[in-house]
Amino acid sequence: MDEIVLQANHISKSFHDPVTVPVLKDVNLAITKGEFVAITGKSGCGKSTLLYILSTMDTDYEGELMIGGEVMRGKSEKQLARVRNEKIGFVFQFHYLLNEFTVVENVMLPGLKLTAHTESEVKVHAMDRLKTLGIESLADKKANQLSGGEKQRVAIARALINNPSVILCDEPTGNLDKKNSLIVFDIFKKLAEENKQALLIVTHDQEFANNTHRIIEMEDGKIIKQ
């Protein structure tokens, strides 16, 4: 049995705006090391909401979240930031690069924040990630000079910089064409199988989902099939 890196027990969440709407109802899931998991489901069923909770950014939920065997509840904002920095990589549908910085600097930022390595070491790591994603030639360009697909790959490189044990993606290929989606998919698969990192990816792309190790299907705030 592989070790569990991410575990959610009985997670529920409701919005109170202005009437109480339950969005997640008793969600249970566990992801082990090196697993490549897809979450699918209809629009509005609560996939993004679940992902924000799993990423520790949203702390307003019921239930228990464990990352790397540690309980997240009760941690301070600062401690949670540290967990995100160290253990979680997040890729959004939108890339969110800082236009003031070059591509390689964008990738380096979370690495510098971690302070586990010197700046030159972090730079080597960043160039490494860019090479993996096939965009090392863009390293010194400003972030806003890139195409959408290139930006998305930079965002993935940034998520990988600290070798997180879990990578969470919310429709990472939503803005990409078929060819770029395939590139990203191959990268993810390699990360899971070679680096033994766990991946949890929200997607509407059924073909993409079918090629993963496991599909979690959600409906109306509940997991209906694992």
Binding site: S48, Y52, S55, M57, D58, E77, K78, A81, R82, R84, N85, E86, F90, F92, Q93, F94, Y96, L97, L98, N99, E100, F101, L109, P110, L112, K113, L114, T115, R158, A159, N162
Partner: protein, 419 residues
């Protein structure tokens, strides 16, 4: 390491909006420039006006006042010890203006370590005779050397040499106004008549200008020996002993002590010129108030630019938080931005403030009443620069506080969901 990273991010955000940043910094620069200039100039003026009086006033003056004796004979009578005595029409006794035993007192004062300078003086009321007109005047018998050391006498002698009072016998230095009335030049002889109808001829060796025109119309200076001769007094006759002490604030206490010790009256500078302090204080207060007001306005500029920056950089803040920067880190990033605007704006402001006050210092300022002053007075006290830079950092910190706090509280989920 983390500090460097925060500064690096702050710098990138700042440079991305360098035009607005510059405008905000220019606001700080302007206010610090005005603050420094205003304070240097106001303090320069204060020093000048204070100096006008303080330089020429003794810290403690020992003299004998003409006044009725405190102890009337009836007080000694044992018969009326228990009664209240009412005495009408008391006259001042034959108490003399002379300070008894002045030689010994001066010797004693010279040994006192709290006393930094001693200048004896005699004042004599005389009439200056100009044809048929008599002009009332005062002759101050002084020791020219001591008077120069203590009260910058030399500075106010605009023509002639003050030491001639000593070197030329029966010589006098006239106030500029008095000389104008008497129509005399250096080398001329003036006639004076004393209160006791004694006539004297004195040779004019110089003119002085004190800065107070009224004073210059009546005052004149002669040596102590000459004045004693005019008054027909022996050569130990002294009416005033003027003292400078180490600590001016101690003057009242020292004055009281000496009055007791030497059986004279004593007047101290605080009592004589208390209102000057008030004037200086009000002028400084106004300078500070204007400087701080300007800084507050500059502070609002910084507040605005930061708010705008945070509004524009919501996405960046959200992703920084999502990738592991805490609220404290984000707060620091924006505080660094605010403080660097304050720091650089303030620093340049200090430079401009110095240059502007230096420029004012070059502007000619000639006034008949202030012979020693050639340009506008400026005080280059470094403390103004310290206060100015401290103020600029404090205001920018306060201006940056609220926006930075707001930035640190941004919820990344709301921003990311919004896309």
């Amino acid at each position: 390491m983390n500090v460097l990273l925060i500064v690096k991010i702050a710098k990138a955000l700042l440079l991305a909006r360098w035009k607005q940043t510059l405008v905000a910094a220019v606001g700080v620069t302007f206010s610090i420039t005005m603050f420094i200039t205003l304070l240097s100039f106001m303090t320069g003026l204060n020093d000048l006006l204070d100096g006008l009086i303080l330089n020429r006033t003794a810290h403690v003056r020992l003299y004998n006042d003409i006044k009725p004796s405190l102890h009337q004979p009836i007080d000694i009578s044992t018969e009326f010890k228990q009664s209240h005595n009412f005495i009408r029409s008391i006259k001042s006794g034959s108490s003399r203006q002379e300070i008894y035993n002045s030689g010994a007192i001066i010797q004693a004062l010279k040994k006192d370590s709290r006393v930094t300078g001693i200048a004896p003086k005699i004042t004599a009321q005389v009439f200056f005779n100009d044809g048929s007109i008599d002009i009332t005047g005062v002759i101050n018998g002084i020791d020219a050397q001591a008077e120069s050391n203590l009260f910058h006498f030399t500075d106010y002698v605009v023509e002639g040499n003050p030491l001639d009072l000593k070197n030329v016998s029966n010589s006098i230095i006239l106030g500029k106004g008095l000389a104008a009335k008497l129509l005399v030049e250096i080398g001329d002889v003036v006639q004076v008549t004393t209160a006791k109808q004694q006539q004297f001829s004195l040779k004019v060796v110089g003119f002085f200008q004190s800065g107070l025109a009224e004073l210059d119309k009546v005052q004149s200076y002669a040596s102590i020996a000459t004045t004693q001769k005019i008054l027909g007094k022996p050569n130990d006759y002294i009416t005033d002993i003027q003292l400078k002490v180490v600590d001016m604030l101690q003057a009242p206490a020292i004055g009281k002590e000496f009055a007791q010790l030497f059986q004279t009256d004593a007047e101290d500078i605080q009592t004589a010129n208390s209102q000057f302090e008030t004037g200086s204080f009000v002028r400084s207060l106004i300078s500070y108030a204007v400087g701080v007001t300007l800084l507050v306005v500059a502070g609002f500029g910084i507040y605005n630019i930061l708010n705008m920056m945070i509004y524009e950089k919501m996405d960046s803040i959200a992703i920084l938080k999502a990738t592991g920067f805490s609220g404290v880190d984000v707060n620091r990033i924006f505080l660094v931005i605010a403080l660097s605007i304050g720091f650089f704006g303030g620093f340049v402001g200090l430079g401009f403030g110095f240059l502007l006050s230096f420029a004012i210092d070059q502007i000619p300022f000639n006034t008949a009443s202030l012979p020693t002053v050639k340009t506008y007075p400026i005080n280059y006290n470094p403390i103004f620069y310290v206060i100015g830079s401290t103020f600029s950092l404090i205001t920018t910190y306060l201006a940056g506080w609220a926006p930075s706090r707001k930035a640190s509280k941004i919820d990344p989920v709301i921003i990311i969901r919004g896309k």
